[in-house]
């Protein structure tokens, strides 16, 4: 439709009103779709933010209930002994980490950051290329 309009302008022929109406309708539809996309992304960002906070509290609660937090602290209280049994300490930490809540937390952080970067892209100024 845009090409039809361009052709009319190039041939100095007046653009038919039906074509103008069709172009306007298509433009409005596109604008509505863009707005819907932006609103959806903003809403999804908000939801993933709350999910991130929720998963973080879940993970910390889970983590406090396991021996992992206590074993990790040994690296600060007994660094020499931990260094002597480093492989045992490392395996002890890895074996007792609450994997499910940690995976859920990392997943929500990933999606939140992805959506946030998408949202922020729309608000950053586009660089003007002065050299064409």
């Amino acid at each position: 439709m845009k090409i039809d309009k361009l052709l009319c302008e190039l041939q100095n022929v007046p653009v038919p009103p039906q074509l103008e109406t069709k172009l306007l309708t298509a433009f409005k539809r596109q604008q509505r779709w863009l707005k819907f996309k932006q609103t959806t992304v903003a809403l999804a960002t908000l939801i993933t933010f709350y999910l991130t906070v929720f998963s973080f509290t879940l993970f910390t609660a889970d983590w406090q209930q396991t021996a992992s937090s206590q074993i990790l602290k040994l690296a600060f209280t007994d660094p020499v002994q931990v260094k002597n049994s480093l492989s045992n300490w490392l395996l002890a930490v890895l074996e007792s980490v609450p994997l499910t809540s940690l995976t859920f937390f990392m997943g929500t952080v990933f999606f939140f950051l992805m959506l946030l970067s998408n949202l922020l892209k729309k608000f950053t100024l586009k660089k003007v290329n002065l050299y064409g």
Partner: protein, 163 residues
């Protein structure tokens, strides 16, 4: 070599690198999981021998658990071993030998200085009987940890320790 070929080769190398990293991480995860499963299986197999009651299958009462370290409440002290109940209500036998380093605060302790009810954090290595040979035991006085984390009574019904 033209630009397209160089891009293709770079893409292939990046893909191989990513695949290798993923496989490495997966293999490490399998290794750690295997350690847990092996210890849990041996613990379950030997449970009735040390604690009485029916033999337990692997992964009971609640999934697999760590054999290289634990934290818990000391429920029983014997000549060269301790029995600890961890927050997930699993009883574990901790073996003490001359290489075990027991510490509380900044002072080194002996086995006699540990009392039942003390909160312990243990690092060690599992043996083939589902026990943990302790290398480091750190003792905490009662009240330093959140008490709700350390249930005084076990949740699941297992046979009580023999007298």
């Amino acid at each position: 070599m033209d630009k397209q070929q160089a891009h293709l080769i770079r893409g292939i190398l990046i893909g191989l690198g990513v695949a290798f990293s993923v496989l490495l991480i997966f293999a490490f995860g399998v290794f750690v999981g295997e350690q847990k499963a092996r210890f849990s299986y041996r613990w379950g197999e030997s449970y009735h021998r040390f604690f009485g009651g029916p033999p337990l299958g692997p992964g009971r009462p609640r999934g697999f658990f760590s054999g290289h370290g634990t934290a818990g409440v000391l429920v029983k002290k014997e000549k060269a071993r301790l029995i600890i109940r961890s927050p997930d209500n699993i009883e574990r036998i901790i073996l003490i030998d001359k290489d075990t380093f027991i510490v509380k605060g900044r002072e080194r302790l002996n086995l006699e200085d540990i009392k039942e009810g003390d909160r312990l954090v243990v690092i060690g290595e599992p043996n083939n009987k589902g026990q943990v040979k302790a290398r480091l035991i750190r003792v905490f006085a009662k009240g330093l940890w959140k008490e709700s984390m350390w249930r005084e009574k076990p949740l699941h019904s297992l046979p009580s320790l023999p007298l």
